[in-house]
């Protein structure tokens, strides 16, 4: 349908069925007032950032890419990655145990989750740090019988180990709940169809249920990774030189406390921003239902596997 306006005439969007009359737009006085207030506050904030010498921006600039800070950053990244891997592996195991029909096994998993979610991570880290006060010697041997090997706890549980155990074991409890939710999100008919084909529990879990659970598991796992990155700063109490502790070591020498905390904060926010962007893309992949047209990451992985399969049996009919 063509608009009933003469060529060249300004088309004023008329309401359907109404005559083309001039429209007076609704005014937003409060919106304008808020712009002004926020602009003033922002100006004050920038002013104090620039004029308050205590921020010590020159010190921030000096240490931002210093070897000790970058080394701390690297350790933070490594610790995040290792703790997350440990947490995910533990989480899958605990989730499967939790859903087991064996009450002892599911009870152990419940107890684990209850304990590690019920006590603060900070306290858990301290426990791992002081573990040698609880068990000065760790030994491998027959229960209640002779031991074959003995270790000095202080040698075995170094600050790195304490940090990895503390963060990883705690993360395992949270990942267990995420994985469990993912497994429960898969339609029961999928398990039944696989059972009807004669598949056994382990294969059904690996081949049918977990791949479909990934859609539900991946987004919160991304969240937890971002959270873990910041939680690693607690490890500074174990004297493990990650990013925050590296900054603390520096300011205990030069007393430039605030600038070094700012330096660490900027790095944290840079890395979390990068992770957030990555998470956005991953979530976008998984939110697109792979049931539709099979464009998801998993389908693509499956496609790759299929191609690889065809490469193996060369008589494949080259699809």
């Amino acid at each position: 349908m063509r608009p009933a306006t003469a060529p060249g005439e300004q088309a004023v969007a008329p309401a359907p069925g109404a005559h083309a009359q001039p429209v007076v737009k609704l005014r937003h006085p409060i919106r304008w007032a808020s712009y002004v207030v926020i602009a003033v506050l922002a100006a004050m904030f920038i002013n104090t950032l620039l004029t308050n010498p205590n921020f010590g921006w020159d010190v921030v600039g000096e240490y931002f890419t210093s070897v000790r800070i970058l080394d701390g950053l690297l350790k933070t990244l490594q610790l995040t990655a290792i703790a997350m891997v440990l947490g995910i592996v533990l989480g899958v195991g605990l989730a499967v145990m939790r859903l087991s029909s064996n009450p002892a096994v599911s009870g152990v998993s419940w107890l684990y989750i209850w304990f590690f979610r019920g006590t603060p991570i900070f306290v858990q880290l301290l426990f791992w740090g002081y573990i040698s006060a609880l068990y000065p010697v760790l030994s491998l041997g027959v229960p209640f019988g002779p031991s074959f090997v003995e270790f000095d706890t202080n040698v075995l549980i170094t600050p790195v180990m304490a940090a990895i155990l503390g963060l990883g074991l705690n993360e395992g409890a949270y990942m267990a709940e995420i994985v469990r939710a993912g497994i429960l999100s898969v339609d029961k008919g999928q398990t039944e169809a696989a059972q009807a084909l004669g598949m056994k529990r382990g294969r059904i879990l690996r081949q049918i249920v977990l791949p479909q659970a990934m859609r539900v598991i991946i987004p919160p796992t991304g969240n937890n990774t971002i959270s873990m990155l910041k939680t690693t700063s607690l490890v500074s109490v174990l004297a493990f030189p990650e990013l925050l502790y590296a900054a603390q070591l520096i300011y205990s020498d030069n007393f430039e406390t605030i600038p070094l905390l700012i330096t660490a904060s900027i790095w944290y926010i840079i890395v979390t921003s990068v992770l957030t962007v990555g998470q956005y893309y991953i979530e976008r992949h998984y939110s697109r239902s792979e049931r539709l047209a099979g464009a998801g990451v998993l389908s693509r992985l499956a496609e790759l596997q299929r191609r690889r399969g065809i490469k193996v049996d060369t008589e494949g009919e080259g699809r």
Partner: protein
């Protein structure tokens, strides 16, 4: 494994099933012979779906005896006692019984071809090339050759159900169970699935089909069983049960469905 052709493929003697206090099957007696096609009819809640789920042990039997090919389902009889089978033994029995579900239950993260190939490779440990050839033949048989690389999400309901039938057939089952295979389909897609099933019935497959498709029952069924409220009300050849039912309940039901 029994190969005695006189042993019925499925034999139910006073089979009972309760969920808590609710008794859904109250003594079912049936026999399905080799190569026979049996259709189960009945109003919803009559226990027909529960009955076929007992046959491959997706539900456990509460009382009575149920045998497939002479073997007790889910139990081994030893010195007058019934011993529950291990998971691997149950899986072994299920591998020889094909099942087609109302909601298809194709694996959404696998292509049509992968859906069909998964169990023969994973369960029967057959070589991939052999399975692949059989899977492609089956896809052709159900008229889905051109969709071997498609994911279930890209297929219509009728197409998904045909792939699901091919998936079950890939295990070369001795018995096929169909749980309302066309109930979740748009009316115009029912025919293509029924055609595949009719073809299968004519090829001599032993089938138990829960369905409301009277045309299918009349055309290919050897026997029709009408169930209501957990018991078999009437059973016999389709000409008898569908055309000249003896019981008032059967007549009432048929008058509503036809």
């Amino acid at each position: 494994m029994t190969t005695d052709t006189r042993v019925p493929m499925v034999r139910a003697e006073d089979v009972r099933k309760s969920f808590g206090h609710l008794e859904v099957l109250r003594g079912i007696n049936l026999e399905v012979h080799r190569g026979e096609v049996m259709t189960l009819l009945g109003p919803s809640g009559s226990g027909k779906t529960t009955f076929i789920r007992l046959i491959n042990h997706l539900e456990t039997i509460s009382a009575g005896r149920l045998t497939v090919d002479g073997q007790l389902v889910g139990y081994r009889e030893h010195q007058g006692r019934l011993h529950e089978l291990r998971e691997s033994e149950v899986a072994g029995m299920r591998a020889e019984i094909g099942m087609v579900f109302q909601r298809f239950n194709l694996f959404p993260h696998m292509t049509a071809l992968q859906n069909i190939m998964a169990a023969p490779i994973g369960v029967r440990r057959e070589p991939k090339s052999v399975v692949r050839e059989r899977a492609l033949r089956l896809l052709e048989r159900v008229g889905m050759s051109d969709k071997s690389g498609a994911y279930p999400g890209a297929l219509s309901g009728g197409q998904q159900q045909r792939v699901a039938i091919a998936r079950a057939l890939a295990m070369e089952p001795k018995l096929m169970l169909f749980d309302e295979p066309t109930s979740a389909l748009d009316p115009e897609l029912v025919g293509e699935v029924l055609d595949v099933m009719k073809d299968l019935a004519r090829s001599g497959m032993t089938m138990i089909v829960v369905t409301h498709e009277m045309g299918f029952a009349k055309e290919v069924a050897d026997s029709v069983v009408f169930m209501d409220n957990g018991v078999v009300v009437e059973a016999g050849p389709p000409d008898a049960v569908l055309v000249d039912p003896q019981h008032q309940r059967t007549r009432d039901f048929l008058s509503k469905v036809l």
